[in-house]
């Protein structure tokens, strides 16, 4: 839940969550086992097909909501169901409490439903004097603790069995053990009584079929079956986004949801309820049944050109399971009601700007969530867009205005960097790091040593380095990015060295500037567009066979984001597509185009771990080339399951949330050091900065290298 009034307060909450030891351990175990097994969950079917089918079903259904709703209503009413449409949370709560009053209900059993959480239905009904019991085990535990769920599928993942034992001891008035099997059985009996006493059962629904008037529910425990069978009244509260035309559109969701959530090919129970069924407890032997559809902004959201895809969500929770931020702090601080990556988006729409203000900023843009979303939602992009929307209403932070002003003026920016190297002298001493930064400047950034600006940027070294090729078979341009131009020019130098004698003409168009990702990350869309157009002029794609970047972040921004942010402009669309098509990361280029031969390199080398930059492995989808290069260059590549986990930099993220950034990188290095490797190689200067700076501060026995540095070290000559 979000109640922080300032970023400072929010960071305080995050720090407390970081200190919650049981939760950290539990999430660590859960998320790493999830990541390990997840690919196997789709071994027997086509994930791409499922993603596509879910997307199609959801997108098209919302467009024809009115017709589907009328169809469902007619069908359901003919079978004794009353159908309501609640425009907002308040209306939904009132409709349901009136149903309770009308039927003299006093006791309610409620099954797990995010929609009910969204409108805070239980609180509302309890205020009206009803007794509401959550009958899903995890939800019951949470209710007894007076908390909210911390995960969409595993609501009580932050609670230990000892805590559950104590809780159940209080409930039963007898001391309970901490044996999980026994605790589950105690809950079984305690809750069975609640089902029998209840007058009303409340459920959600995973899909609602218009054609037949059917509700479909996916569950494992069996509580929903009891809750929809024993009490005389059944109320289903469902988001309008759950409505699909026919059973056919529901089946892909049924395939994707349980697999992505828990790795089950289907859940233990899928319950299909059509119309008011037999119910002996009801006065006329027929269930009193109501279906309440909730709009709460969904229908308008469905028409939004950017955000409508958020409504495809099937609530599988997978995006949280792979998010490096969620993994550290859990759902109570990483969400409001909807938690995890999708929560960063939905909170704005369902619970308001104030609740999402700081939350929405808490994203590394690492793309891990996007890679597992079974509904194909581009979560990181929507999170960025939400940040921009929220920011539009705020006075622009100084950092934004400053960066936007400087980065859109290439010459100003570069001359500032020029003078920077003189200004840093007193704090630099003779090392390559900024040693004596005053604490007030550094703040909580002290977990990593910050690199100093290089004595001479790459652009000033270029004339001397430039290889002379008379009859080139291939022509490339280097896109250097700021970090490598001004901080790590040695990376580019090594790259040029690797090009020697390969008949490849290399050029460095000097008018290029920052790629613009930093300003986009701050939600400064206009500045990002200006920068993109500038670079497009500086590097005309028709002049080169490929444009190579050694920075994965620049690379994915140039390739993925440029067409998105400036592609709709008349005349620009084609150029930017051609430009994007020529962008290539350095590892793919060296491996697949330049085709470095193994005889260039020493036959053996140190044990080496690899860190896959988010923007490379997920952004550009490059996975094999870097790993193959390591082996080809004679290094002893030691794989590790954590390779694709973000290093915690996330551009300006690490300045905003230094505690999280530090924990992420420290955890990562801890695990890598345990592999007993000498090198840690990656192919992004941002990752190098984060990893190398932290290794430096913590004095770890690891050498962090950019891919081209590692390769150059292995060269025979």
């Amino acid at each position: 839940m979000q109640y922080a009034n300032s970023l400072h307060e929010y960071r305080k909450e995050l720090k407390q969550a970081l200190a919650h030891e049981f939760q950290r351990k539990a999430l660590e175990n859960f998320t790493s086992s999830y990541r390990k097994s997840r690919d196997g969950y789709f071994a027997d079917c086509s994930l791409e097909e499922i993603i596509q089918d879910i997307g199609l079903a959801k997108d098209s259904s919302l467009k024809q909501f009115e017709a589907l709703y009328q169809r469902f209503k007619a069908k359901a009413e003919a079978m004794g169901v009353q159908v309501h449409l609640a425009r907002n949370d308040r209306e939904a709560n009132e409709i349901i409490s009136e149903i309770a009053a009308e039927n003299q209900c006093r006791r309610v059993v409620k099954t797990k439903s995010m929609t009910a959480e969204e409108v805070k239905l239980s609180d509302f009904l309890q205020e009206k004097g009803l007794e509401v019991t959550e009958c899903d085990l995890g939800e019951w535990i949470i209710q007894l603790r007076e908390e909210v769920p911390s995960h969409m599928v595993l609501p009580a993942i932050h609670v230990s069995k000892e805590e559950v034992g104590k809780l159940f001891s209080t409930v039963t008035g007898h001391t309970q053990s901490t044996d999980i099997q026994s605790l589950v059985k105690v809950a079984r009996r305690e809750l069975r009584q609640k089902f029998i006493e209840a007058d009303m059962g409340i459920s959600g629904s995973n899909f609602v079929i218009a054609e037949t008037g059917t509700l479909g529910m996916v569950t494992n425990e069996g509580n929903l079956r009891l809750a929809t069978t024993l009490p005389r009244v059944h109320v289903a509260l469902v988001g309008v986004d759950k409505l699909v035309p026919t059973l056919k559109e529901a089946l892909p969701i049924l395939k994707g949801l349980p697999r992505n959530a828990t790795g089950q090919s289907i859940s233990s129970y899928v319950t299909w309820i059509t119309g008011a069924n037999d119910c002996l407890a009801a006065p006329e032997g027929k269930k009193i049944m109501h279906v309440v559809f909730l709009d709460n902004g969904r229908l308008a959201l469905a028409r939004d050109p950017v955000f409508s895809q958020a409504l495809r969500c099937v609530r599988c929770g997978a995006c949280a399971n792979v998010c490096p931020v969620y993994r550290l702090v859990g759902g109570h601080v990483y969400g409001h009601v909807y938690i995890g990556p999708i929560g960063l988006i939905l909170t704005y729409f369902f619970h308001g700007r104030e609740k999402d203000k700081f939350l929405a900023q808490n994203c590394l843009n690492c793309q891990a969530c996007k890679a597992v979303c079974v509904a194909g939602i581009d979560l990181p992009r929507l999170i960025k867009e939400i940040q921009a929307v929220i920011q539009a209403d705020e006075p622009r932070p100084a950092l934004n205005t400053g960066l936007a002003t400087v980065l859109t003026r290439r010459k100003l920016f570069h001359s500032l960097l020029w003078s920077g190297k003189y200004l840093q002298k007193p704090i630099q001493g003779r090392s390559k790091y900024l040693r004596h930064l005053p604490q007030f400047l550094l703040g909580d950034q002290d977990f990593k040593a910050l690199p100093a600006l290089a004595g001479k940027p790459f652009r000033d070294r270029w004339e001397d380095l430039k290889p002379r090729v008379t009859r080139p078979r291939y022509r490339i341009a280097i896109f250097s990015g700021c970090l490598q131009d001004f901080v790590y020019p040695e990376h580019l130098e090594q790259f040029v060295r690797l090009m020697a004698g390969r008949d490849i003409a290399v050029e460095f168009p000097k008018d290029q500037g920052c790629c613009g990702l930093p300003v986009l990350m701050l939600g400064e869309k206009e500045a990002a567009r200006q920068i993109a157009r500038h670079n497009l002029r500086a590097l005309d794609p028709s002049q080169y066979d490929a444009i190579i970047t050694l920075c994965a972040s620049c690379g994915s921004h140039l390739k993925e984001n440029y067409p998105y942010i400036i592609g709709r402009r008349q005349g620009v669309g084609v150029k930017v597509r051609q430009f994007a098509d020529k962008i290539m990361d350095v590892s793919s280029f060296l491996r697949n185009v330049a085709q470095l031969e193994s005889n260039l390199f020493a036959a053996s080398g140190p044990r080496t771990a690899y860190h896959a930059p988010c923007h490379l492995c997920r952004g550009l989808q490059v996975k094999d080339a870097p790993r193959e290069l390591l082996t080809l260059a004679g290094l002893e590549y030691v794989p590790n399951p954590d390779e694709e986990t973000c290093c915690g930099l996330g551009g300006t993220y690490s300045m905003k949330f230094p505690e999280l950034s530090a924990s992420i990188v420290q955890d990562k290095l801890e695990r890598i050091e345990a592999l007993d490797v000498a090198y840690l190689v990656t192919d992004c200067p941002g990752c190098v900065m984060q990893l190398k700076g932290t290794v430096e501060t913590e004095q770890r026995r690891l050498t962090v290298l950019h891919m081209v540095e590692a390769l150059a070290r292995q060269l025979k000559t």
Binding site: L137, L154, R192, T212, N223, L254, T274
Partner: protein, 209 residues
């Protein structure tokens, strides 16, 4: 998938989610199997359904309501089969009920029902449980035993699109897909079977149906 492959896949998938599966030639043998299950159950007394733990007053009273004679609930059998089962149960002192399950909410030993379809790819049983007694037999029993005709097992859920749509359209209807026993992992992600529904699921594939 041909008929045989369907059945084999169905069996292995169902077993993978800890259902017990046997194949019998006729209903007669299935009924005998159910009675054996029930008598075996007697030998090892009550399954751990929670009543062995200290509970608060009302749930404990509910446990006491559970009768000490064994009960099989079979709300879904054809008249002839019901008679056969009655004859099998009587000498063993097992009570057989076919309706009024609502007055046994404390728990039943065995619920016996028919599945209308099976889905091989997941080991799923499809039960038309529109009648409340059939629904309860699969919910409040400690062992749920399901009979399924070998010819009713489809390869995939997609294959059932039409018959299911017809079934729903003809509502009111309450259909359940059941795959394995009721389960939870809500406490420390440790798997526990039998949280609200049956503690065990047994399937008898009847070859001549």
């Amino acid at each position: 998938m041909n008929r045989n492959q369907c059945i084999q896949t169905f069996i292995s998938k169902a077993e993978a989610v800890s259902a017990g599966v046997i194949t019998v030639p006729h209903v007669q043998q299935a009924l005998e199997h159910v009675v054996t299950l029930c008598t075996d159950k007697e030998a090892c007394r009550l399954l751990a359904s929670g009543c062995e733990h200290p509970l608060s007053q009302e749930p404990a009273d509910l446990c006491r309501l559970k009768e000490w004679s064994k009960i099989i609930a079979a709300p879904d059998l054809a008249a002839g089969d019901l008679e056969t089962l009655t004859n099998l149960c009587r000498p063993l002192g097992i009570r057989l009920i076919e309706k009024g399950l609502h007055s046994h909410l404390g728990g039943l030993d065995i619920g016996l029902t028919w599945a209308r379809y099976g889905i091989a790819e997941n080991g799923t049983l499809v039960l038309d449980s529109s009648r409340e007694d059939i629904r309860l037999a699969g919910m409040i029993s400690e062992i749920h035993t399901v009979l399924i005709g070998a010819s009713s097992i489809a390869a995939t859920a997609d294959d059932l699109l039409e018959p299911l749509t017809r079934l729903f359209a003809d509502g009111p209807n309450y259909t359940a897909f059941i795959t394995g026993a009721s389960r939870t992992a809500d406490i420390e992600r440790v798997l526990a079977l039998g949280v609200h529904g049956p503690l065990e699921l047994h399937i008898c594939i009847v070859q001549d149906c």
